[in-house]
């Protein structure tokens, strides 16, 4: 911005544009597209192909069928898929509610330093998944964790390596993500709306029920879907923390890829991956329109 021209900020599509040399405009874009096709398209296509391929265990001849999908939706694989969905849904709901409360507390605060600090911290923590997060919680609430030892939590039946242990851990990056997602929407709630509601005799509760929450709904839903997606795709945290004591689809895929369970399950892993992509694709299909809708209120 420092060197921005002092000219009027004309929109990019002014009619004064020079003669378009359309022939060469796409050349700098080409390497990017080629790269994505090779490094991303080929693996994804290979996965698709493998997911529909069944190896004949005796002859070794390949044939196309949907047997892998049938397998991926039965038995232990189905349990893992449902476990992942349940864990993601529960932690996303909790994080949405807690994130909304925290964001509201910060947005209405008079201290702008607090607001800046919380938003910056959220930006940092939302990116904080994976191995260090797992170890921080192992050191805190694991079997020999500091809190577990000092408060004698094991005697109370606490285990970090369980559904709720993972939920508490996931909240650590999901809540900040929600704060980041919902803060612009909360900023978009105009003071005039609250005043108007009050002038018409609305209580605080009525204002939230009839004015604020309907306006926030697209952002909240969009945020929830985004959180669900990140929890669903998370692997490193769970792998470093629970091993495989909680059935999760990411852990199942990892086991099947590395041939830990049974030989010849690689293609079921590919089918499971495709199941995940379908879920993630649905997440995006819901999230993007909601996000577009919610930006209307933030103008």
């Amino acid at each position: 911005m420092t060197a921005a021209p002092a000219l009027a900020p004309a929109p990019a599509e002014t009619t004064a544009a020079p003669v378009r040399r359309r022939s060469a405009g796409w050349v700098p874009v080409l390497p990017l597209l080629v790269f994505v096709v090779l490094s991303f398209g080929v693996p994804v296509l290979a996965m698709l192909n493998g997911a529909f391929t069944v190896k004949d265990p005796t002859g070794g001849a390949d044939s196309y069928s949907s047997a892998n999908f049938t397998a991926s939706l039965h038995g232990a694989y189905l349990t893992a898929l449902l476990g992942s969905i349940r864990l993601s849904a529960v932690s996303a709901v909790l994080a949405s509610v807690l994130g909304l409360l925290l964001a509201q507390a910060v947005v209405t605060s008079r201290f702008s330093a607090l607001r800046e600090a919380v938003l910056t911290a959220s930006g940092v923590l939302a990116n904080f998944g994976g191995v260090p997060l797992a170890f921080a919680f192992v050191a805190t609430l694991g079997n020999s964790g500091v809190l577990t030892r000092h408060l004698g939590l094991t005697a109370l039946g606490w285990s970090l390596y369980s559904f709720w242990g993972l939920t508490i851990t996931y909240l650590y990056f999901l809540i900040p993500l929600m704060v980041l997602t919902i803060t612009p929407a909360l900023d978009g709630l105009r003071a005039q709306w609250r005043e108007a509601a009050q002038n018409n005799g609305a209580t605080n509760g009525q204002y939230w029920r009839h004015v604020a929450l309907p306006v926030l709904t697209p952002s909240l839903l969009g945020g929830f879907v985004l959180l669900f997606g990140s929890a669903f795709a998370a692997y490193a945290t769970a792998a470093a923390m629970v091993g495989s004591s909680v059935p999760l689809v990411t852990l199942q895929i990892a086991n099947a890829i590395s041939g830990n369970v049974l030989v010849g399950q690689e293609n079921v892993a590919l089918a499971l991956s495709l199941d995940m992509i379908v879920v993630a694709g649905l997440v995006m299909a819901v999230y993007l329109p909601l996000q577009r809708r919610s930006t209307r209120w933030l103008a």
Partner: protein, 277 residues
């Protein structure tokens, strides 16, 4: 308004205190865990052992090398493409936006399943062709190029957003036309006019990519390589204190990077409505 906020204050304090406890406790506990070993009393042995532990230096160096290579490739691919989209091929913009968002739809674990499948083609089908050498070369354990390719793909969404925000904030067309009418060639206009204005976005993109590569575990572990995050997990079995100590350090490192990023993007851009992006 003042009356209302006054009434809701206890609420807010409770929420803020609970959040502070929840977010600070694991960090504090991690530090306590590393220095207060049961039966030995407080000491800093775990931190002193770090550098002497086998694999620490080599895995960290591998991660840093991978990060540098990834940043270089992703910027070389994206910066010319994004500038060209602004200047000369606006019709391709929706396509590139979709292409750069696609990695968000494919979770890393699914992506690595696909990569693994492709890599198995090497020995299975291509053993007699020249491609085989390529397959071997990109899996060289001392510098696995395949990880760089995967990380570049995974970084595309972030880099796209960072560069897009930077290009939105400047009038590329006018700048380039001014440079061109002063006699600059295309490369000169790009390097000496557009890039300096994009500096902050490029820096943002680099930091985000660096954080991504340093913390990446899924792809590297499942392909059998041993950069930093995989190494931490592999030592955690025998040396719990040490692995937590290294995590604490790597956390501090990553956070410093991301805070630097936040201050870079928040500092001079304060006048811009960066929160809306």
């Amino acid at each position: 308004m003042a009356r209302l906020t006054a009434r809701t204050r206890p609420w807010r304090a409770a929420i803020l205190v609970c959040s502070a406890v929840y977010f600070l406790l694991p960090l504090a506990a991690s530090v306590v865990f590393t220095v207060d070993v049961p039966g030995k009393g407080p000491n800093a042995d775990a931190y002193q052992q770090i550098f002497g532990t086998a694999g620490f230096v080599s895995s960290l160096r591998l991660s840093l090398e991978l990060a540098v290579a990834t940043i270089a490739i992703v910027l070389l691919l994206m910066v010319p493409a994004m500038v060209a989209l602004r200047l000369r091929a606006p019709r391709l913009r929706p396509l590139v936006e979709v292409v750069c968002s696609l990695p968000l739809v494919v979770p890393p674990i699914a992506f690595v399943a696909g990569i693994g499948t492709v890599l198995r083609w090497g020995p299975d089908h291509l053993a007699t062709t020249p491609f085989f050498q390529t397959f071997v070369a990109i899996q060289n354990p001392s510098f696995p190029v395949v990880l760089v390719l995967a990380y570049t793909v995974m970084a595309l969404p972030f880099v796209y957003r960072a560069l897009d925000a930077g290009l939105r904030a400047m009038d590329v067309r006018t700048l380039v036309e001014a440079a061109r009418s002063c006699g600059a060639g295309w490369p000169q206009a790009l390097v000496r006019v557009v890039l300096p204005n994009l500096r902050r976005s490029v820096l943002n993109a680099s930091f985000l990519t660096l954080a991504l590569v340093l913390g990446e575990f899924t792809v590297a572990q499942l392909l059998g390589f041993r950069p930093f995050a995989v190494w931490i997990v592999s030592v955690s079995g025998e040396q719990a204190q040490l692995s937590v100590a290294v995590s604490v350090l790597s956390l501090l490192l990553t956070w410093m990077l991301l805070l630097m990023l936040a201050s870079f993007s928040g500092g001079r851009a304060a006048s811009r409505t960066s929160t809306k992006e």
